[in-house]
């Protein structure tokens, strides 16, 4: 018995200590408000990609210039960020003051009245300096609701060393037929080089972003003018067949779980001969600190099959202020700073011109320093300028968006179709099955939400 007693005395002490500790914590927690210490606290939700990390590092400059503002960073992986911010904004949680959103969300959320309009930005912000397609994508009824932190299109990356060896010259505007041929020529799995890396990880913003551009340029579209899904059409069949064949023959193992990050890791470690993906990768691949292939990476426009317009996507990550923010003025000061010309200058001074956030401002592309540091600048600019969200397909569409459809339901449909495409890629389904099931899923969903009878 005395054993238990002794244990109990010690445990009692411990429990008392812990309860005390807890009470102190709870009291502390209650006293903390949004205005603690006379400073305005801004809670900023961002994704964990390279440019955002740079912004986080440089934000001390902003805090030095604005001593009344304290920044609090919530950095999350993209999927978690999206579900977290959407839940909060849609249920008026009021947890965030600045949101990182994409050009897909901006008009949809603005339409719901969830975002503050950003029409009142100061004159020295120079809204007209923003690239037009990017600015259009972030506007709803001609009002700007989010300011672009960086913008991107898609393009082709290739390994100049391997291509020289194989005697291939890449034209400025390659076609998908050529790409398939080249993939065969540079494919060398014995030496750990796979001919073609493409996104395979399921998700509307992952594999379907690429696949939609492929479908577009093969002549297909997501919906007809009555919102009937058009996935079981020959255009989709051809595009998906092309994708699955190329990846099965020349893709890396595990392609069905590779997203942007995974492919970036593969290409920068020299494991891919070619890669078609976001233009932001250009800067990362050219940076010798992050890439083992920095001096042998080549750039070209995204390949085209039959219709050029929808073959390269348009996307931007932007900063927006939810209506539920308790400190909208301070938040506006921050988003203006983080997307300003001065910020671009600041990044250039601290990290070099190749690291500045691309795809947002005309002034960046007009800057000779940037042109010198970024050999890919012109291709990126042309890609972005040529992307037309109003005409993604040769057929008329009831929606806007190159690699997405600007309705809230698209996330669900895109991801479910993406799952089936990934299954086709992993050989769990045939292309025909994947297409039939995708069509079925899309029809069911459109009926469920009342678009079609």
């Amino acid at each position: 018995m005395h054993l238990f007693r002794r244990a109990s005395r010690r445990a009692r002490g411990l429990v008392a200590f812990l309860i005390g500790l807890l009470l102190v914590q709870l009291v502390n927690a209650c006293s903390a408000g949004p205005q603690a210490g006379g400073k305005t606290r801004l809670t900023i939700a961002t994704v964990n990609n390279g440019d955002m990390v740079v912004m986080q590092d440089l934000s001390s400059h902003f805090e030095a210039d604005n001593p009344d503002i304290e920044l609090r960073w919530v950095v999350l992986e993209e999927n978690i960020l999206r579900q977290r911010t959407t839940t909060d904004v849609a249920s008026q949680g009021g947890q965030f003051d600045v949101l990182t959103i994409g050009s897909y969300e901006a008009p949809i959320w603005a339409r719901r009245g969830w975002l503050r309009s950003l029409d009142g930005l100061p004159a020295d912000y120079d809204v007209d300096d923003l690239l037009d397609p990017i600015r259009t994508g972030l506007s709803y009824e001609d009002t700007l609701y989010a300011v672009p932190f960086y913008g991107e299109s898609s393009m082709l990356y290739y390994r100049t060393d391997l291509f020289d060896e194989a005697g291939i010259t890449v034209p400025q505007n390659p076609t998908y037929d050529q790409v398939a041929e080249w993939a065969e020529q540079v494919h060398d799995p014995e030496n750990g080089v796979y001919g073609m890396c493409l996104r395979g990880k399921p998700g509307w913003g992952e594999n379907m972003a690429f696949l939609t551009t492929l479908v577009n340029t093969f002549g297909g579209r997501w919906f007809d003018m009555d919102w009937n899904p058009t996935i079981d059409t020959p255009e989709w069949q051809n595009a998906v067949n092309y994708y699955v064949n190329v990846m099965n023959q020349y893709g890396p193992p595990g392609a069905s779980s590779n997203g942007f990050n995974e492919n970036l890791a593969l290409f920068s470690t020299g494991k891919c001969g070619m890669w078609i993906d976001a233009t932001v990768a250009a800067g990362l691949l050219s940076n010798p600190d992050e890439s083992q292939v920095a001096d042998v990476v080549g750039f070209a426009r995204a390949p085209v099959e039959s219709y050029p317009n929808g073959s390269n996507w348009l996307w931007s990550w932007a900063l927006a202020i939810p209506e539920t923010s308790q400190s909208p003025e301070a938040a506006e000061r921050f988003v203006a700073w983080a997307t300003s010309k001065e910020y671009v200058q600041l990044v250039a001074e601290e990290y070099g011109w190749v690291a500045v956030p691309p795809g947002t401002r005309k002034s960046t592309y007009a800057n000779p320093n940037y042109q010198a540091a970024a050999p890919f600048a012109e291709i990126v600019l042309n890609s972005i300028q040529s992307a037309d969200i109003t005409n993604p397909s040769p057929e008329p569409t009831p929606y806007k968006g190159v690699q997405y459809v600007d309705i809230p339901e698209f996330q669900a449909i895109g991801t479910q179709v993406g799952q089936r495409m990934a299954a086709a890629l992993a050989d769990n389904l045939t292309v025909e099955q994947a297409i039939a099931r995708s069509q079925n899923v899309a029809e069911r969903f459109m009926r469920h939400t009342g678009y079609i009878e």
Binding site: F4, S8, A11, L22, N48, V74, L76, G93, Q95, T269
Partner: protein, 273 residues
């Protein structure tokens, strides 16, 4: 049993092999965290290399680890203490004064644990917003208490059932009140069992990753949120991910190692005999 260990030379070998295999993923993560990013993906994999702390430094620059860790500590301890305070009286009544409904209640409690949490996220989120519990430690403490309560009640119930009823009877004859009986007789007797229940509850709370991600933002974010900001960065990230993972699990792992004897002792005393 000791008599025949010497004859079976392969037992220590097999024991150590199994232990090393099970521990290997953690070990591999640990040593990867001291590699450079390039060394982390080198072919063939390197076992010997020049260790570096650069990953830990880089992570500490990005996120203040100790804020997250402290939230984890407060939340898991808070939820465990609260769950024990609720569970001990309930388990006491259920084990010593069972009624017809007791077993049903117990089973029903356990079945509440089998619901997928995601289904009720939106209702809970709205409730938390209304009550001002979003992004507060007390909010997560309440949720975790409720999540772990069924298991805590059930375990303590089985520990109490181990206590010989004669002791309580004798005590009662002396006119002890319910509270005195609980405090002076039952708790000391069942303490090892309660301790191991608490340990289990702390481990489960520490590792819970759904509510912690969805109900916290900044002030109350625990280590599961910390790891979510490193789970898929761009480019080469294996070494940094390993370092962040090591930091996230180190406290609970060390805690588990130190307390595992207690865990075993408590379980021996009760639940599984």
């Amino acid at each position: 049993m000791a008599s025949n260990t010497s004859t079976r030379w392969w037992i220590p070998l097999l024991g150590w092999l199994v232990a090393c295999l099970l521990f290997f993923p953690i070990f591999w993560m640990f040593i990867t965290s001291f590699k450079t990013e390039v060394a982390a993906v080198a072919t063939p994999p390197q076992l010997f290399f020049q260790p570096t702390l650069e990953n830990y430094v880089a992570i500490q620059e990005r996120a203040s680890y100790f804020t997250f860790a402290w939230n984890s500590v407060v939340i898991s301890l808070g939820a465990t203490i609260l769950a024990l305070l609720l569970a001990i009286p309930a388990a006491y009544a259920m084990s010593f004064f069972p009624t017809k409904g007791t077993k049903g209640t117990l089973l029903w409690m356990l079945s509440t644990k089998m619901l997928p949490a995601v289904g009720v996220l939106v209702p809970i989120y709205i409730l938390a917003r209304e009550t001002g519990l979003l992004d507060t430690r007390i909010g997560l403490i309440i949720i975790y208490t409720l999540i772990n309560l069924p298991i805590v009640v059930w375990m303590i119930y089985s520990f109490f059932k181990e206590v010989p009823k004669e002791i309580l009877e004798a005590d009662r004859m002396d006119g002890a009140s319910t509270f005195q009986e609980l405090r002076h007789v039952l708790l000391p007797l069942a303490l090892p069992g309660i301790a191991s229940t608490a340990l289990l509850s702390i481990i489960l709370s520490w590792n819970e990753a759904f509510w912690s991600l969805n109900l916290t933002t900044f002030d109350a974010a625990p280590l599961t949120a910390f790891i979510a900001s490193f789970s898929s960065p761009q480019g080469l990230f294996w070494a940094k991910l390993s370092a962040a993972s090591t930091m996230a699990i180190a406290p609970i792992l060390i805690f588990g190692w130190v307390s595992q004897r207690q865990l075993v002792r408590g379980l021996t005393f009760g639940a599984v005999k």
